[in-house]
Amino acid sequence: MKKKLLIAILLLPLLAAVIGLVVLYHLPLDLEDRAPSQPIAFSHRQHVGEMAIDCRFCHRSVDVSAIAGIPDVDLCRACHLFIAVDRPEITRLAEFWQQNQPIPWERLYRIPDHTYFPHMMHLNAGLECGGCHGAVETMAVTRRVVATKMGWCLNCHREHGASIDCWTCHR
């Protein structure tokens, strides 16, 4: 009897682990790195917080296109030809430029396939960048503050009285 109980106790965690893994497999978990280290340690705190540069100065197409746009290397360089040229991170920037290589940034936010998310519509509807992206002006290392899952989209759409028709996003 006691032996059986012992075996049962030993097997239970194993069973739990298996069930756990199966559940994990089916749950829509957020598995991507939220604050990956970037090829250049770019600080939003410094640029947005301290220097008070407007988001649109770098993310230039955010209010006209679905895609906010990542600044081209030429744009980074335009300022850093003169500013902080001897900092190690800026030297790295210069190296990318000299080698004719774009900077392979780690992506933080990804909209799932078959989903349409237009940045400009959200901005033109009066939403703030920080509403989704968090207080980037305080982030030395930029981190993702939300998991871009359908439930999150729907909540916000309901809150603001925006359409929750399938075709609004899945088109």
Partner: protein, 716 residues
């Protein structure tokens, strides 16, 4: 630590490590180094008009370009040929552009010929090598010659090549590719003008081996017209009969399929002519140089009963088709490649086309329209091809310059192209991909992809006026390639002298602009935006003049050769056309419309014949002819005559890159002598025998219960 705590902790650790294993790497965000000059906004696309030159139809396309990248191809609604529609080959143009096996720089052979070993060289070196070979060809000097082999060219490019050839001297231009509309030279209509079938306005359509939905002349145009013929008119639904031994997609779209023995289709046309003849006024025939009494004598033997016997089609079915053709107007008859490729093809073609004359359907609504072309086509005939090959074989050619053709693949071994190649000291190939032929070149010059090229696409069918589609380079060339015309211009500049004087334009684009909108940039932009020069109204049709008929021969009896009792029909596949689409994975994955087969070749065989030979669906069979054997999976297909088997052309490449190599077989290996009807290199049917080898045919079809999941068979 208590045991319980230990177990809890170890469980958590296990779950934690499992979770860490699930963590995905983030994607990358790659910005521009420097943004494009035209100020492209990420996420916002521009649409540029251009044209497709994957087949001679010349459809107009619109290409979605964002951030300097071509992303999607659609049909151009303003183009009169395809009116916004497009076939899968046109859709796949983006895959040609981004193909991983594209040639990126000029290459020079470093190993033995055919070994595929090349080293990169500069354009300067490539041009210098080529110029050194071209210089001694100057007119006046005695000596060997050079051959330039391209597909049939049109418009400005044809004219540029002619000027270049004259400048160089002894440079012979061969303009030949399989399935080029060159076969229409055999036509009753007598000239190589523009041809258009007014399918949308006809009431009764009969096709003799013209697979106008699959591949015939201008498939997108005729598909569109066919849809309108069937459904666009409020009160009539046009009727359609197909004559031919195999149920193609076109035949499957017909109301009636008359599966005539291959080579006898024309006798049905004779039965029709016989019944139509009494309705026709003799002066109509006299105007075309035909004699009514003579025609009556010619058609006399072909009563429905006799024709039923000859063709193996039920007499009632033939009678129904004949009766409809006699009663319904307007009616239209189309003859196509599958008929013309027969040994009696040219005569059979004319016998079938005679019906349009008898029906009064030449240059009338619902009939066939003929228009004189702006400039004559420069396509070479099969005889000219054979002459050129003889010149090569005799060692009388110092240089072979190939562009856009793949004769190693497209000519049966009997033509001796490989042997001819061995006699040429320098073989130069201008191509987008390494392919079966480019492999044997000494010098390889990368060509622009369709979406990077400037040029013209001038349809030779499906239009009723001079139509010029303009090809626009919608993206900056991705690699260090040069378009073929710009290569000729650069060569002429290197050569100088007579050639330099003959070809004096700075670039092809500049010449193109000069030709269509000299000194008027606004007009040029307008032409580019709409996709070309489209006639506002139809040109006056070209009347039929004197025609000559000829008398078709009957094919030998089906069982004439006991060693090879079956007839193999090779048809152009709807995805790959003559084979050059096989490099593109989208087209490989495109299910064949009749069998749903993907990524391979197959042999269509009638279930009756299969049962007799002990062959089951999916078995591996050997198809043998006098020339050789190939192995194919069997596809039991009720839509084919019992004595006929069929296989598509397009697969079985060697050297066409990762997606095409080693898939399926090239059935042209089964053709022995360089003989075919009507200008085709392969006869319409080849006598073969079929034998079962094993059950491991490894046929992959999208319609299979396991479908495309059988990826282990595809190896991708």
């Amino acid at each position: 630590m208590k045991r319980r705590t230990f177990l809890q902790l170890s469980g958590m650790a296990a779950a934690g490590s499992a979770l860490a294993g699930c963590r995905k790497g983030n994607e990358k965000l790659i910005p521009f180094l420097v943004p494009p000059e035209d100020g492209a906004t990420p996420g916002i696309a521009d649409w540029y008009a251009s044209a497709c030159r994957q087949c001679p139809a010349g459809c107009g396309i619109l290409v979605k370009v964002s951030a300097g990248r071509a992303r999607k191809v659609e049909g151009n609604p303003r183009h009169p040929i395809n009116r916004g529609k497009l076939c899968p080959r046109g859709q796949s143009l983006v895959q040609e552009l981004y193909h991983p096996d594209r040639l990126r720089t000029p290459l020079k052979r470093s190993g033995p010929r055919g070994s595929g070993q090349f080293v990169q060289i500069s354009w300067e070196e490539a041009l210098a090598t080529l110029a050194d070979r071209l210089r001694p060809l100057a007119p006046g000097d005695a000596g060997k010659s050079a051959v330039l082999w391209t597909p049939p060219l049109q418009g400005y490019l044809a004219e540029l090549v002619a000027r270049f050839g004259q400048g160089v001297g002894r440079l012979q231009h061969l303009a030949w590719e399989p399935f080029a509309p060159e076969w229409r030279r055999q036509s009753l209509y007598g000239h190589q003008g523009l041809i258009d079938y007014d399918i949308e306005n006809t009431q009764y359509l009969v096709s003799f081996g013209a697979d106008f939905i699959d591949s015939h002349l201008s498939p997108v145009r005729f598909n569109y017209a066919f849809g309108r013929m069937r459904q666009e008119r409020p009160t009539v639904r046009g009727r359609f009969t197909y004559v031919g031994p195999r149920l193609s997609l076109t035949a499957a779209s017909a109301d009636r399929w008359l599966p005539a023995r291959p080579g006898t289709e024309w006798t049905i046309a004779m039965a029709m002519a016989k019944r139509l003849l009494p309705q026709v006024e003799p002066r109509v025939l006299a105007a075309a140089g035909l004699d009514t009494a003579e025609l009556a004598r010619l058609t006399e033997p072909y009563s429905v009963a006799v024709v039923a016997e000859l063709t193996g089609v039920r007499a009632t079915d033939i009678e129904a088709a004949v009766a409809k053709l006699v009663a319904i107007r307007p009616a239209l008859v189309i003859a196509g490649e599958m008929l013309v490729a027969q040994r009696n093809g040219p005569e059979a073609l004319r016998a079938v086309e005679l019906l349009n004359l008898l029906l009064g359907s030449v240059n009338t609504p619902g009939g066939v329209y003929l228009t004189r072309p702006e400039a004559p086509g420069n396509d070479s005939s099969l005889a000219e091809l054979q002459q050129t090959l003889a010149t090569l074989q005799a060692g009388n050619c110092d240089l072979l310059l190939l562009q856009g053709v793949n004769p190693t693949y497209n000519l049966p071994p009997g033509f001796g192209f490989t042997e001819a190649l061995a006699q040429v000291p320098l073989v130069v190939s201008c191509a987008t991909f390494l392919d079966d032929t480019v492999r044997f070149a000494d010098l390889v010059l990368p060509d622009h992809a369709n979406l990077e090229s400037w040029g013209e696409a001038i349809p030779s069918a499906g239009a009723r006026g001079h139509t010029v589609g303009l090809l626009q380079g919608v993206v900056k060339p991705l690699h260090d390639s040069r378009s073929f015309p710009d290569l000729l211009i650069a060569l002429a500049q290197t050569l100088g002298g007579a050639t330099g004087a003959a070809v004096s334009e700075k670039s092809f684009l500049e010449g193109l602009q000069q030709r269509h909108a000299a000194g008027n940039p606004a007009r040029w932009n307008e032409l580019l935006a709409q996709g070309g020069i489209f006639p506002a109204e139809a040109a006056p049709p070209e009347p039929l003049r004197q025609v000559s008929l000829g008398r078709p021969e009957l094919p030998p009896a089906a069982d004439a050769d006991p060693d090879f009792p079956l007839q193999l029909q090779i048809y152009p596949s709807s995805a790959f056309h003559d084979g050059h689409g096989a490099a593109l994975p989208w087209l490989q994955q495109l299910p064949d419309p009749m069998t749903t087969a993907v990524w391979g070749s197959w042999l269509e065989i009638n279930p009756q014949t299969a049962a007799r030979l002990g062959i089951a669906h999916g078995d591996l069979v050997e198809v043998g002819s006098a020339a050789g054997t190939v192995q194919l999976p069997a596809f039991l297909y009720p839509g084919i005559r019992p004595e006929v088997v069929a296989t598509p052309l397009g697969q079985g490449h060697q050297g066409l890159g990762r997606y095409a190599d080693g898939r399926g077989v090239n059935p042209l290996q089964l053709s022995s002598a360089p003989e075919g009807g009507g200008g085709f290199p392969v006869p319409g049917t080849i006598p073969v025998r079929v034998r079962r080898l094993s059950e491991a045919g490894e046929l992959v079809t999208a319609g299979h219960p396991e479908g495309s999941y059988r990826r282990e068979l595809l190896g991708i």
